[in-house]
Amino acid sequence: MLKRLAGCIQEYRTPTILTLLFIVAEAIIEAFIPFITANLVNTIKAGAEIQMVVKIGLLLIVMAILSLSCGGIAGFTCAKASAGFAKNLRRAVFHKVQSYSFENIDKFSSASLVTRMTTDVSNVQMAYMMIIRTAVRAPLMLIFSIIMAYIMGGALATSFVVIIPFLAAGLFMVSRKAMPAFRRVFKKYDRLNESIEENVRGMRVVKGFSREEYEKEKFGTASENIRWDFTKAERIVALNSPLMQICVNFNMIFVLLVGSRLIITSGGALIDVGEISAMLTYGMQILIQLMMLSMIYVMLTMSSESIRRIVEVLDETPALSSPADPITEVKDGSIDFEGVSFKYSAKAEKNALAGIDLHIRSVMTVGILGGTGSSKSTLVQRIPRLYDVTEGSVKVGGVDVRKYDLDTLRGAVAMVLQKNLLFSGTIKENLRWGNPNATDEEIAEACRLAQADGFVRSFPDGYDTMIEQGGTNVSGGQKQRLCIARALLKKPKILILDDSTSAVDTKTDAQIRAGFAEYIPETTKIIIAQRVASVEHADLIIVMDNGTISAMGDHAHLMAESEIYREVYTQQKNGGAENE
């Protein structure tokens, strides 16, 4: 898992290595400073010449400046490395998602992908920064301090070595106990925030039923509940500090007492006051480094969940891709389904499509009808190869769709999705998704065909009107017509409308269809609709039921043969024109 992530460091390997080098340099200088300081103190004490004092002082100042430079540079390179690593991670995740097929997209909710690219990556960034700054430094300082303590204090330094395992075990145990507690409460915390979000979204319901007090009480209980869980976890972590102090302080007293005795009994021969002072300083260092190591451990466990979630996205294999030797030209707009079956997942009991045989000639207009869940969309999504069939084959222009280059195929097959979207940007920018090089004239023409030109021109800014995120500033019907225009700009060989005129009134709907017949007669048109009127005049009408083709033929044929068709037809004609 970590290896997968490490691959994203790329060009930030150099700052990472530089950070490590400078940190090591800083650590070494820093480790020598107390040593030379002790020297300085001893020199002063020995009443040496002032030149000697100044000389050592200057050396120390040079060291401090060196340490400052190394530390400063390391801070800089470390920020660069970690921010860059985060950037690469975010890019890797985003780019990876772009390679996903529909099947992969269905697996992840968009909200979870957003969290992965923001919060999770930020967590990893912080952990990475922490680790490259301390992972090398802490053990290095630890070893160095122990060695120095031995040089200074001889056998006395063993007391540090003795206490290290105890302290390490203590810190480790605290983290170990606290981590699962934190993980549990974080999950609860997420749920609490989800419920706040529900409340914010559903405020009309809350207020409509006068449930404010009820919600307050419910939230109060949940919040208190989490409070106690959090308190429990934090109190465990809070033990770190007294634990440290006990070890540090009593070790100090031990060293002081035993050291004093040693000095006095040996008359300062074995060890002197300066050395004891230095030892105490190194003792402190040792303990601080241990604390750092335990923090790295905590950081790693805290971010391991984020790492897992990021790697999950990166490790997902795109369900389909262009073949090795792709065909890059679609001959015509004919479509053939041969014994096609499809399941959404291998585990699914029911086939979403079963035994579909269907032949559509180029230039035909095909209507598809059927109730909710009858797999109308599932059927047409095979044509631009949004999903691969489980059995059988789909051919476009006489060639299996799996043999085409995906961009070629999708360029030739324009599909207006049921859940369609416009993006923030101007109307023109949105339409150019269909063809980035479309001229203004071509755009206007596509819009005229989709019956969108009129209302676009009625906007003050015309084609330069800004569409807000999610297209909230145009009505449902307007949005649908813009989406059709966007698809038309591709100049496709096959045009598929998946319930794309449901919010357009019947008259405009008819005008759009008439426009198709007149201006793009060469294009194969497939229209999924709820309204019989939308498909009534098609060359071929397919009635879907439960993943199979229940009936097929023209209007007259179906009125005679298909019960479902007849039922829907009479219901809609008698119920008056239903406006949606």
């Binding site: 004490k45 002032i50 909200a111 960034q125 405020m203 319901v205 409070r227 500090s241 007294p242």
Partner: protein, 638 residues
């Protein structure tokens, strides 16, 4: 993460800090002072031991210099000092344990309190607030902003206090040793403060910028992930990547700068400390060699026993100033967060001057109404008058709007002179284009918004006099955008009336035509719904929402596009239940599909906030107006 406008760090109002502290004190008037006292005490105690360490070492030096090698004698001088040291350490550990444990308790308690205050305040805000504020921004108060407060209370505040105390104590100890050398240190500290301010300020600025770019990246990713399928269909992947890379690059630049500043602050301050140490040592050496007269609180002359402990003090002093400077970032961020939290808390709540309440009633055969506590199925408005008398009016569901004008903002009026009369048991329908004002009318009836001019009367009572919660309790609403809550299906239905039995909930579901699919769910009525019922279809969610309104059994119902996502065949089935549901109730229906509203008693056609046609289906068809055009499909509704 943070999406809201953090603003310039310089604009941060430090009074916010005062307000946070005041709330903290108010929440823990006893515990907080105890904790703070423990922090101060343990900090003070922490700076004293070095004095005794030095005293011990002084004794040792004295003995060695005198050539005395007798430990038993020296022990008598050393041991008492070591014992004091032990005592001090024990005290310090006890206090540290107390304050860290208490701090964990206080932090979480305070955060829970803040969360609840925000949530409680939020529940009382008018719908206008939710209609005009981005939901993501509201959410970030509960996540990011609260997080910054946690950092402030649990870490920055104790650490600042601790460092302050140590700095002050050490300062006096230093004065105790030598004034000259203390002055030297102060000069160095000024340099440190200057550097901290410069670098820390830069860091805070970029941290806030980083939050902004993160918000921007989040917005972009959200839009693209939502439209991922459209991207695929148009083979637009490369453009999406290019757009993302650009935003990602900006985020990187800000994040890099923010952390570069923050990271380099530590080593710089620390090494200024080191240099200061050397300067002190050299100066001390000089003083010693030149026998310079000392000036100190203790009156001690310059000796090695003064200089060595003083140097140790220098380390502590500068070390704590470093800790201090490390907190600048989190304090600036916390203040920005607190400011936004207070922004939410300070929103004016929904005003409710209503005094007419809804009570259970018993209606005698002669029409007299008596109030009762048990549920009778009859309701009455309890109306206290100025002269102290009480009258009871039976709740019937008679709603009248008279010449109502309204606008969401003062500049733009959306409803002009609208009058609607709905008698008990009538079905009133609104038809019109998006933005014609249909939903607005219903927003006014339940007082989500207040009218600008005109009158709305409910059973003859001006709705401004009715307590809002009681008014809304008497109205059932089903909205187009269905919102379900996390919990079981049963709990969601019961939301309509909290004391409804399982049986009542079930029959409401049957009435709404939802029982059929609910029983087919894996756990039937006990199926857990999450993420606004993500595992249900939009149509199924609407059916549950209808059942929820049905169980409330209100005399008046508002159905705003309640069946829009149910296909025509299912709607025909639901229609029977709906008809039964509407029986004996006043119902306001908004629908696009004319088949849903054809059988209404009155149909109002709205255009740009005005009622342009009214009457029943037959009458409107005969008039051959807009309704007729809609019906024949000659005209478009949007």
């Amino acid at each position: 993460m943070n999406k809201s406008k953090a603003g310039n760090p310089r604009k941060i109002d430090f009074r916010v800090l005062g307000r946070v502290l005041k709330m903290l004190f108010a929440a823990y008037p006893v515990l907080l002072p105890i904790t703070l006292f423990c922090i101060m005490f343990s900090a003070a105690v922490a700076s004293i031991p070095s004095i005794f360490t030095q005293k011990v070492l002084a004794v040792v030096t004295e003995y060695t210099e005198a050539g005395l090698m007798d430990w038993t004698v020296a022990r008598q001088e050393i041991l008492p000092k070591v014992l004091i040291l032990v005592g001090l350490y024990v005290c310090s550990i006890i206090f540290v344990t107390i304050h860290t444990q208490l701090m964990a308790y206080i932090t979480q308690g305070f955060l829970s309190k803040m969360r609840r205050r925000m949530f409680d305040g939020m529940q009382d805000l008018p719908i206008r607030y939710f209609d005009t504020t981005k939901h993501g921004d509201i959410m970030s108060h509960y996540t990011n902003d609260i997080d910054t407060l946690r950092q402030l209370v649990s870490q920055s505040m104790p650490q600042l206090l601790q460092s302050c105390i140590i700095v002050v104590t050490v300062f006096f100890i230093m004065l105790y040793y030598s004034v000259w050398m203390t002055i030297l240190i102060l000069v160095g500290v000024c340099a440190m403060i200057f550097v901290s301010g410069k670098i820390g300020g830069g860091s805070a600025k970029y941290f806030i910028r980083q939050q902004k770019s993160l918000g921007k990246a989040e917005g972009y990713v959200q839009e693209m992930m939502n439209g991922q399928k459209v991207i695929k269909v148009f083979s637009h992947e490369e453009d999406a990547k290019a757009g993302f890379d650009q935003i990602n690059e900006e985020l990187y630049a800000d994040s890099f700068r923010a952390h570069a500043y923050a990271n380099s602050l530590g080593p710089i301050i620390m090494n200024i400390g080191n240099i200061l140490y050397v300067l002190c040592a050299t100066a001390g050496g000089l003083f010693l060699l030149t026998n310079c007269p000392n000036l100190s609180l203790s009156g001690l002359p310059f000796t090695i026993d003064i200089i060595v402990p003083f140097l140790n003090m220098t380390k502590q002093f500068t070390g704590n100033i470093n800790t201090f400077s490390q907190q600048i970032n989190s304090i600036v961020m916390a203040l920005a967060g607190a400011q936004r939290i207070f922004g939410l808390m300070d929103q004016a709540p929904e005003v409710d001057d209503g005094y007419v309440t809804l009570v259970n009633a018993e209606i005698a055969p002669d029409g007299t109404i008596t109030e009762t506590t048990k549920r009778t199925g009859h309701w009455a408005w309890k109306h206290p008058h100025g002269d102290g008398t009480l009258t009871y009016t039976e709740l019937k569901g008679d709603v009248r709007l008279t010449e109502v004008d309204f606008g969401y903002t003062d500049e733009k009026t959306v409803l002009h002179d609208v009058s609607v009369y709905a008698e008990p048991g009538q079905k009133v329908a609104f038809v019109g284009a998006t933005g014609a004002g249909k939903t607005t009318i219903t927003n006014l009836i339940n007082r989500f918004y207040d009218i600008a001019d005109g009158k709305i009367r409910y059973d003859g009572i001006n709705i401004n006099k009715i307590k809002k919660s009681d008014l809304r309790r008497s109205l059932g609403i089903v909205l187009q955008e269905t919102n379900l809550f996390t919990g079981t299906v049963m709990e969601n239905i019961r939301y309509g009336r909290l004391d409804a039995t399982d049986e009542e909930c079930r029959s409401a579901a049957k009435l709404a035509g939802a029982d059929d699919f609910i029983t087919r769910l894996p756990d039937g009525y006990n199926t857990e719904l999450r993420g606004n019922g993500a595992n249900l279809s939009q149509g199924q969610r609407q059916l549950i929402a209808i059942a929820r309104a049905a169980v409330a059994d209100p005399p008046v119902m508002i159905l705003d596009e309640a069946t829009s996502s149910i296909d025509t065949r299912t709607e025909a089935i639901v229609q029977r239940g709906m008809d039964k549901l509407m029986e004996g109730r006043t119902v306001f229906v908004i629908a696009h599909r004319l088949s849903t509203i054809m059988n209404s008693d009155v149909i109002m056609v709205l255009d740009q906030g005005r009622i342009i046609e009214r009457g029943n289906h037959e009458k409107l068809i005969a008039e051959k107006g807009v309704y007729y055009q809609l019906y024949t499909g000659a005209f478009e509704l949007e």
